[in-house]
Symmetry: C2
Subunit: 193 residues, 2 copies
DNA sequence: TGGCAATGCGGCAAAGTGTCGCAGGGCAAC
DNA sequence: GTTGCCCTGCGACACTTTGCCGCATTGCCA
């Protein structure tokens, strides 16, 4: 258990040393992600909304960006072409709470590199940049098999919960289940498959 | 209630008269879709796998195509660049049983126009072609609200069931629930939201 | 300091689920 | 034909989960 095999603090990857802009309206998530990415050797910049992001992109030589879809003001989807207009070489990964195939497609069409659903940690984000740069047509066969009902339910719960900033009561309302029930479900293990 | 407003048989759309290639290994679904599209004024061609699709694309002036991801032999994802190499103007919509964001992104990267999950009828497919041709970022904010747990479960069940060709026993196995339970769930109403 | 909302947890009736079994239908091999 | 296999629908029953109550505690904000 030496520090050698600790992916938390030592990440090879091509991203090391690059400058990344993190756009998210949730301050806690933003700071947490920034800190984690900083620990992996990236230099980080933060923006809470459309205008801040544009301003920072104009004045800093950012190379990577993560963009939250849902923000007060103009949505993250609109930010993608805007950022690309400023810096055409920018690699953008969309990071969203509750993701849908429709918005994922939109994001890719608009020039995003990849699309990640919360909850996502720094490693997920970095992996998304790498996968986005890899040549396409890699998808594993595992993508072709449907998850079990329990698994699908758990994933959906996690997404909505992340989208509610961890607020169980709010998530329960959105999910249309009783708070007590959600609470009990969360106490269970994540189903394997 | 005149026949005027019957979308089943009278569809305006720009697709009318075009030649569409339907690639799907499930003969029943393929024929059904072909018939429905034919009724809407398209001329249809059918293929059951990679090789048949390539052959038909070579010898026919197809303008549109729907491609199933999962087929015996080479998967539909690989078919996309192959078809585009033969006919660069071809507009391809991916039609898949159980869809994931990952494969949707791959499909778009590979040049597909859009991505539709089964169960999908002819109108869904035509709508996908139209949406794919529309400029991005027009619509869609409605995608931002999470479906209820019951709704999400129902949608997942429908996808897997479609993927199993309507075979309830098989779907139950894949979903990890008892056949009797699936049977009971299917007897319920589709949840509204 | 008093609302207000969120959290965790106990308990209980109601609803849902797993697991039997049985009868019937379609289909391919013998 | 008939044997075997798998699918389907449905009834019954024990067991689990859910909805819904309550209560105590915590954090926030005016």
């Amino acid at each position: 258990m030496s520090s050698l095999d600790n992916p938390q603090t030592e990440m090879p990857g091509e991203a090391t040393g690059k400058c990344i802009l993190i756009v998210d309206d949730d301050e806690r998530l933003r700071d947490q992600l920034a800190r984690a990415l900083g620990r992996r050797g990236l230099s980080t910049l933060k923006a809470a909304n459309f205008d801040e992001a544009v301003e920072i992109a104009r004045t800093n030589a950012v190379e990577l960006a993560t963009v939250d879809l849902r923000m007060p003001g103009r949505p993250g989807l609109e930010l993608i072409p805007e950022l690309l207009a400023i810096r055409p070489e920018l690699q953008i990964v969309v990071l969203t709470g509750y993701g849908s195939i429709a918005t994922a497609i939109e994001a890719i069409r608009l020039g995003a590199l990849n699309y990640v659903q919360k909850p996502a940690d720094a490693d997920d984000v970095l992996a998304a940049f790498e996968k986005g740069n890899a040549p396409p047509l890699a998808p594993a066969e595992s993508d072709y098999v449907a998850p079990s009902l329990a698994r699908a339910e758990w994933e959906h719960i996690q997404r909505v919960l992340a989208d509610c900033g961890g607020n169980i009561s709010e998530a329960a309302r959105r999910l249309g289940v009783h708070r007590r029930t959600l609470q009990r479900k969360l106490g269970q293990f994540p189903p394997k498959a």
